[in-house]
């Protein structure tokens, strides 16, 4: 089985899209569970299991909590009451509906995060640049991903400098607004000024360049992968259509 770093980023994304659409259309909990377990196995192979579990839990836990409140307590119809607290009744049907919806979201989260963890960002940017997408897109993705840690560090440094300068800011809404102002104004001013200074230099270099241009970073691709991508995209569209049509005729 090929490692993700041997695959073109678009192949990984196309396969993930097919898995997501088919699993969502099927709405069959054993399939959803199998997809999640499969993702965990792949994450173990890529040594990112802990990160995938932690990031997924951060998103899935509040979603499941919300589903429980919205559905488990208010699903009409005859169903055994599992627990009761005042006017609230936890019914079996409601709990099942909440679990199914959370499982549907969990598949999206786990598959999406696995893609983000196994795809090399530089290779993704190179692949976008080499594709027929507008040349601006690759620049924007690359610039944002490299700016995020820079601005985060800048914001931290500004916070420390302001704390040294002013000491205690205070509590409550006024203190909160003061903290926002003290951190965001220098951050936004500095960042916008830097961006405004960068624009003439980029324009002078002919950005955004049209047509093909040389890239030092190679993105591995092959005929098999190109075929695989097309098959995956056809499955992503035809699979759900077939499943939903069969579901409709079978009643």
């Amino acid at each position: 089985m090929p490692q993700a770093d041997q695959l073109h980023p678009f192949t990984v994304l196309a396969l993930a899209t097919a898995v997501l659409t088919i699993t969502t259309a099927a709405g069959y909990w054993p399939l959803s569970l199998a997809v999640i377990v499969g993702c965990l196995v792949l994450a173990t192979r890529h040594r990112c299991l802990g990160k995938l579990c932690a990031l997924s839990a951060l998103i899935i836990a509040p979603t499941f909590g919300s589903q429980l409140m919205v559905h488990a307590l208010f699903t009409p119809g005859p169903s055994p009451v599992l627990a009761q607290l005042g006017p609230f009744e936890l019914t079996g049907a409601g709990l099942w509906l909440a679990t199914q919806l959370a499982l549907r979201t969990a598949v999206l989260v786990v598959v999406g995060l696995l893609c983000a963890l196994v795809i090399d960002r530089h290779r993704l940017i190179a692949a976008i640049d080499l594709s027929k997408a507008p040349p601006q897109l690759g620049y924007l993705v690359a610039a944002t991903l490299s700016l995020l840690p820079q601005l985060s560090a800048k914001q931290h440094a500004i916070g420390q400098a302001q704390a040294l300068r002013l000491g205690h800011v205070g509590r409550g809404p006024v203190g909160w607004f003061q903290r926002i102002r003290l951190r965001s104004v220098p951050l936004v001013l500095g960042s916008l000024q830097d961006a405004a200074d960068r624009a003439p230099h980029l324009a002078a270099r002919g950005f955004p360049a049209a047509g093909t241009h040389t890239r030092l970073r190679e993105v591995p691709d092959s005929t098999i992968q190109r075929v695989l991508r097309r098959v995956a995209l056809i499955c992503a569209v035809a699979g759900p259509a077939l499943i939903l049509t069969l579901d409709r005729f079978s009643g």
Binding site: G27, T144, L148, W176, I180, V188, A210
Partner: protein
């Protein structure tokens, strides 16, 4: 910003296909919304419910991508260099606000800032791109890309019609924008995720459900409570940040000069 002197401008030509894409994206978004409002599907997790979830997800995402494809080639270089800063600000200021336990999202400050400075096209592009990049860390935000585009578009529209000329107009414009964004985004929360993704907002939806409302109605009412307040604060903060920028910087934007976005503050 002067035009490129050395290489043919890639933005020239192809206006009609881009306009068609923008129209197709808008029609897809509005058509999906109207269909969902009229049909009000009740099944959520079985049979038709799966198809509705998938169709809503795909239609909203496709609409956002069509709008991005229509707008991106027209965005000037001066604005393109600003967009990554805005996207990073969305994430960093959103995280900072989240860390101080304030019950607001405030994760669209950068998008609104770009809408105010560079207009509605750039604002819409920033909204979609921000969601696409943020989906690398939180895939559940993907179908909300169309809502994010709408935030940027409405910020640009508000600035164009004078929302920044008086400080009190910015939160009013944010409030109105929040109503529209909340209404448009509600079907995604209701039919794709069967509610909301946060415990606080989930409690609000559960309260409306307890009053006998349908899921879609409950989610829409929750969005009408959460979104306008959030957008009013975001528009106000973004307006204050624009006022704090040096006039030399704000007046370098064609959009700010052409529509006298800052009125007398711009000093033009």
């Amino acid at each position: 910003m002067s035009s490129n002197l050395t290489i043919d401008d890639a933005r020239a030509g192809g206006t009609l296909p881009r306009r068609l894409m923008a129209v197709a994206g808008t029609l897809l978004l509005v058509g999906t919304y109207i269909t969902l409002v009229i049909t009000q599907p009740t099944a959520l997790a079985e049979g038709l419910g799966q198809g509705v979830a998938l169709a809503t997800f795909v239609a909203y995402l496709a609409a956002a991508i069509l709008l991005l494809a229509a707008v991106l080639p027209e965005v000037p270089v001066a604005t393109l260099t600003l967009i990554p800063v805005a996207l990073a600000l969305n994430v960093i200021l959103g995280q900072f606000v989240g860390s101080v336990m304030v019950p607001l999202y405030l994760d669209s400050i950068g998008t609104v800032l770009i809408g105010f400075l560079a207009g509605r096209r750039a604002g819409a592009a920033t909204g979609v791109l921000g969601t696409l990049i943020w989906s690398l860390f939180a895939p559940t935000v993907l179908p909300f890309a169309a809502g994010a585009a709408l935030v940027g578009f409405l910020a640009g529209t508000a600035a164009r019609f004078g929302a920044l000329r008086r400080i009190y107009l910015a939160p009013v414009a944010g409030l109105l924008s929040g109503v529209i964004v909340g209404v448009i985004s509600a079907p995604v929360a209701a039919f794709v995720y069967g509610g909301t993704s946060g415990v606080g907002t989930g409690a609000l939806v559960a309260t409306f459900r307890a009053m006998g409302e349908s899921l879609f109605s409950a989610v829409t009412k929750q969005a009408l409570i959460s979104d306008p307040g959030d957008k009013a604060v975001v528009f106000l903060i973004a307006a204050l940040l624009v006022y704090a920028l040096p006039g030399r910087l704000t007046s370098s934007f064609d959009f700010v000069r052409r529509y006298r976005v800052l009125g007398r503050r711009s000093g033009n």
